[in-house]
Symmetry: C2
Subunit: 427 residues, 2 copies
């Protein structure tokens, strides 16, 4: 049978996630070093704490631990989330919270509740691929806004909104990752966050703020104070805030949450009823207990030190081996180094060559809604061990030098190395 004729228009337009596709590649090639997915380091998971918690939960036999639960989320976890948010400067009541099955579900629900086909979502150039997919799947149009070294360019934002509105387009919201953006690792400056709220109010935009990496700042380039969410100063109720335990506890639990105005959360809840009824009951309780027992709090310093060290090792290896070929903005936190190759290099072709050398990454174009980024690579240092990071960069350098040699450019065609925060990528 030919099934094509049964598919919806939405299905016709659906695109496979570039990152997920890389995961599939990674599973097939032996001894491959993957800089592709933003997976946390599994040795950082608090295994013993999780085992103790789970044993206690399953010994207690409290019926709801394995039962269907409220769509909003497990009530004690919601209470704990109020505390987690307060620690980030956000005053949210339980009525303003929804537990989601990972932040990807939060993005999907936001898309379904706020977007009609043809509506416009504004995103940074570049932006997170999972958000692109979620918004495109409801047939929204994504329009890019340029970035500066301190995040989104507000002048360009206003110009884009004004132009689109003049064309009669419905611009619904702006999607941003202010803390250690995926893929650039950039941080939106505190003053700029305030101005962003003002711009949103002026143009009547909602802001969807995605904050998975806020806890993972690197002390040499950023402080906890600099990660204060936009939502913390959202007096007007314009910000839909998403965060997750995937990077601080473990992604396998699929526990994340949304904090937004009551009316929006009420709609998101109804959308979630149809999407999966409720998030996993045991998973929610493990996360709740990890908060209550101080496991989450203890993870913060550990993870910051761990990922800062991994960033150091990847950066040093890149400088040593590719410093005259690549440039990148200094990551101030998070999981990624966002690298730029000479304009002539095509990252898709490079990926084929790199796979043959036993290393993979995500091509830059996956993060751009305007077709740019063809010479950019996102390198994730979060999951591999330090030895594997060094070996992976060696393989990557071999692949890149081979490509450049074949193209007759040799090493040194592009200058630079780490650009230390100047010259943000524009693709």
């Amino acid at each position: 049978m030919n099934y094509q004729r049964y598919f919806s228009r939405g299905a016709d337009l659906m695109q496979e996630s570039a990152i997920r596709k890389m995961g599939t590649v990674g599973a097939r090639v032996p001894d491959l070093i993957s800089f592709a997915p933003g997976y946390p380091a599994p040795d950082s998971f608090p295994w013993d704490d999780f085992r103790a918690i789970t044993t206690d939960l399953l010994t207690a036999r409290e019926a709801t631990t394995l039962q269907y639960g409220p769509t909003r989320g497990f009530a004690p976890l919601l209470d704990a989330l109020v505390g987690v948010l307060a620690g980030r400067g956000i005053a949210a009541s339980v009525e303003q919270l929804l537990v989601t099955t990972g932040s990807q579900q939060g993005l999907d629900l936001v898309a379904r509740v706020l977007l009609d086909p043809g509506d416009v979502v504004l995103v940074e150039l570049p932006t997170y691929t999972g958000a692109i997919t979620a918004f495109r799947n409801v047939q929204a149009e994504l329009v890019g806004v340029r970035q500066d070294t301190d995040g989104i360019d507000l002048v360009d934002l206003e110009a884009v909104v004004t132009r689109l509105r003049a064309q009669g387009r419905r611009v619904r919201f702006l999607y941003v990752v202010p803390n250690f953006q995926n893929p650039t690792g950039l941080l939106i400056g505190l003053a700029k966050r305030q101005r962003l709220l003002e711009v949103a109010a002026k143009h009547d935009l909602l802001i969807v703020e995605d904050d998975p990496y806020g806890e993972l700042y690197f002390s040499d380039f950023a402080s906890a104070a600099e990660t204060r969410p936009i939502k913390a100063d959202d007096d007007e109720g314009r910000v839909v805030y998403l965060s997750s335990f995937s990077k601080t506890l473990a992604p396998g639990f699929r526990v994340a949450w949304v904090a937004a105005p009551d009316e929006i959360v009420a709609k998101l809840e109804i959308a979630k009823q149809a999407a999966d009824l409720c998030t996993g009951a045991l998973d929610q309780r493990i996360v709740w207990q990890a908060i209550e027992r101080g496991v989450l709090a203890a993870q913060g310093p550990t993870l910051r030190a761990l990922y800062q060290q991994k960033r150091d090792i990847m950066e040093r290896a890149l400088r040593d081996r590719l410093g005259r070929t690549m440039t990148w903005p200094e990551p101030r936190g998070g999981f990624f180094i966002w690298t730029r190759l000479p304009e002539t290099v095509d990252a898709e072709a490079m990926l084929v060559r790199a796979t043959a050398h036993g290393v993979i990454f995500v091509v830059g174009s996956a993060f751009y809604v305007d077709g740019a980024g063809r010479n950019m690579l996102r390198l994730s240092f979060s999951q591999p061990t330090t030895a594997r990071i060094e070996e992976g960069v060696r393989r990557l350098a071999d692949a890149i030098h081979e490509e450049l040699d074949l193209a007759g450019q040799g090493v040194g065609a592009a200058g630079g190395g780490a650009s230390r925060g100047t010259g943000a990528p524009r693709g």
Copy 2:
């Protein structure tokens, strides 16, 4: 701020699940007996097995146990599902399987991949509310097909398809729950399943077969052979089959699956990438080990005996206290008794009165896409203890008699009691 203007058309049309709403009511009233949600009995969960499995998994510290995983599902679980399906007569390869975050997600993904706004889905009268919500959320139109005592009325099915096609409507698929349907508890006869496949081929319909209750047959009215899925005889590849571990292991894990032709599964996988990336990693491994260690197999006989006993107790109590007022088809498996009150009774009003008496149910109209079912109640016997079932029916009888007395009808206005499979509900 007024958020109404920010919502999508889809969000405007979203309706809160009647069953989920009842769950919220249930959480607020003290000492309430709930016959509303189709929750399994928590004392039937194999707690000790789950604890042993989880301890082993978290002791082993295998990195993927708490990591992001493949969207398709954890490979060893997919392999195990091939075996589970073979036990039901379904020959499916791994390429034809997708793990979903509960079957509700399966319904949601099917809706997104197969339905455009305005497309028609055929459903039984009555049908499962979660399916109604998932299909309505993509702005499909749901059209009802009548039921006989042995499930969907094929004459009516053909008449409905022919009429809709003559009107130029795009009829995409038929949704059915052949085994112990939610809400009626009915079973589609084996011969009728064959004819249903023929009708689907004749009219070029896909069939979405939802089978959460197939293992839960009651030996006095049904046998394992009678639960053979439609999918087992789907030589042409017209059936998208959904099933779940929520009723056999525990719902809190949110692990279910879809078996469908490769091309459809490939699309569902892409839709799932945007919906939640992947189903919980620990949850999938617990289910996998429950299959491998024989826990799932051991649950079958235990659960059949347990729910058959609960059905007996609820039926006896209903016959004793409401046998002259209510009728119902004999449930042959599953979780529900689907009761009919005299035409004059409005279930919504009854629900208010019943809540005051300390018992709740789901109103019949929630299961009908044509506005019928106002005098029907779905009573779930699965979760309450036997003592609570008896007490709940006593409260329900008090509420119903009070309502009928006030309406001047008294007891005995409608005859009947258990209709033992004759006279299926038509609303």
